[in-house]
Amino acid sequence: MMRDVMMKTLRSAGLCAGLMLGLGGLLAGCNEGKEGDRCNPYLPPDDDECNSGLTCQSSPTCPESFCCPTPLTSSLNPFCNGSACPPPADGGSS
C-alpha cells in the first residue's frame, strides 16, 4: 500500500517536473542577437553576441549598440540605420 502511494507520488512528481521542464523549454530561447537587439560593444569579435551576418555596432545617431549588418545603411531596422534611438526610460504617461 505504502509502496503504491510512493510510486504514485513519484509519478506525479515526475509529471510535474516534466511540465516544468516543458515550460522552461518554452522560455529557453533568449531574446538577443537579432537585428536591432541591444548588445555589448566591448566583447571581442569572436565572442560577439549577434547572430550570423550581424555585428555589434552603433549608428552615428545613437549611443547604444545594436546587432546590425554592415553597412548600417543597408538595414531597415531604425536602431541600425539611425532613423531612431531607444526612447528615454520613462514608460509613458497617461
Binding site: 510512493m6 512528481a13 555589448n40 547604444e64 520613462d90
Partner: protein, 485 residues
Amino acid sequence: MRKEYAVFFLFCGTAASTPAIADQAAAASPQPDSAAAPQPAPQVVAEAAAAEPFAFGDFTWLNGASRQHKAVLDTKYFTPEMLIDVNYTASTNNPIDDTVVGSTALSRNNEFTLAFLGFGGDFHYENTRARLMTQFGVRSTLVPRNDLSTERGQFDLQTALRYISEGYGGYHLDVWNGINIDAGIFMSYVGLFSYDNFENWMYLPSFTSDNTPWFFNGIRIQMFPTDKLKIEPWIINGWQTYGKFNTMPGFGAQTLYRPFEWLSLISNDYVGWDTQDAPGRIRFHSDNSIEVRYFNSPTRPLAQWFPATRVAFSVTGDIGFEDGDGVTPFNGSGHEGACTNATPCTQHFLSAMAYHRVWFGEKFAFTAGGGFMNNPGRYLVLAPTGVASPVPQPLNVPAATAPFDLSAGTKFNAWDYEAGIQYMPTELLTFDVEVNHRQSDVPYFAGHGGVTSPDGYITTPIPTGWQPDLVKTDNRIIFAALTRF
C-alpha cells in the same frame, strides 16, 4: 486520518499585502515561556495549552506560514532560528549586467545569489519577550533601497538598520487569550506571502505581495480575544519605512481569523502620509486574503490516477489610493506635470493574485497562480535600478542619467503568471523550481542591454544619452534552496 472537504465561498473585503502568518501566531504566544516557535504539533498543544491562539489546528499548509511543526533548537529561554535562502535565476532577456528589475525576491540573473542569511530567534522569560532576526545577503540592499524616508535628515538609517529584518522587544499580558505589546521593527504581513521565503508556496510572488510592505517600524499590539481571532493595531513610521516622511505616523491593523483548520481569513489595513513634501497627501491601503484547504487526506489520495493528498488555494485582493496635494483616488482630471488640487491626477493601487497548490504526500507540492496590478501614479511600483533608477544611488554607483518616471500622472499596469514545484525532503529544507512570466504596459523589466552601462559594469563610462534597456516582458526560471532551523 479523516477526509475533509471544505465548502467554497466568496469573501469580500479590503486588501493589503503581508508575509509570515504562522510567525504572527507564534509571535503572539500567550505563554511567554513556551517556545515562540513555528506552529507546534496540534496534538501536543491541545493537551498542553488549549487556549493558545490558533493552536487548535494544524496550519502548516498555509501560504505565508511556517510548515515546520517544531523548533528543533528550542530551549527554555531562547528559541534560535536561522534561515539560508539561495537562488539562481535566468531570464530570457539575459541582461548583460545580470541585474533583475522589479522584484524584492530576485536581484541577479545567471548567478548563485545568497538572497538572505538570517540568524536570531525568540527570547522569552516570564512575560518579557523579544525577537531578533538579522538580514545578510542581497536582500539587505534590495529591500531598504525602496525606502526614501531615509533621505530625510542624518545618521544614515539604511546603513544602521539594513541588517536587521526583525528586531523588537515587548511584554505579554495574560488577558483574553493573550495580548502582546511589541516595539521595534517587525514583519508587516501585508500581501499574504511571507518575507521569509521558506514559508511561501512560491519563491517569486505576484505584484500584490512584491509591491507592498515587508516590514514596519513602530509599535504593535497583538490582541487575541479568542484562540481563533487576532486583532493587531500598529502605530508605525510609515509604509515600509525606517523613518517618517511627514508629521503624522502611519496607522494600521491586521485582523486574522481562523475559525477552522481549513480556513484562514486575513485583512491588513493602513492609513499614512508617505510622500515627501506632501503632508496633505493621505495613503490608504487595504489587503484581504482568503486561504482554503478543500481536500486533506494524507492516507487516501484524491484519485488513483492523481495521488494528491492535500489541495488548497489562496485569493488576495488589494485596494489602495492616495488623496490630496495634487492627486485623487479615481477619475482625476490632471496629467503629468500638471497635477494640482484643482486638476488632480489619478493615484490608486488595485491588484489581485490567486494561487492553487496540490501536495503529493508531504515532500512534493505543485503550485500555479498569477495576478495583476493597476497603479496610476506608480507610487507602489518598485523603482528600477542602475541608470534607470529614480531613487538615490548607493555609494560608488554613478548617478542615474535616465531615471524611470515615478511621478503623479503616470500610468502602470502589469500582470504575471507562474508555476512551480517544491521538493521538501525534511521540514528544514525546501528545493524550489519555478517558471514565471511578467508583463507590463510600459517598458519596465531589464532587457538584454541592462540598466548599468554599455557592457554592464558600473566602472564603464556611460556615453551621453545612453538609455537603459527596459522592456515590457520578462520570462524566467528560478531555482532556490532554502534551509531553516
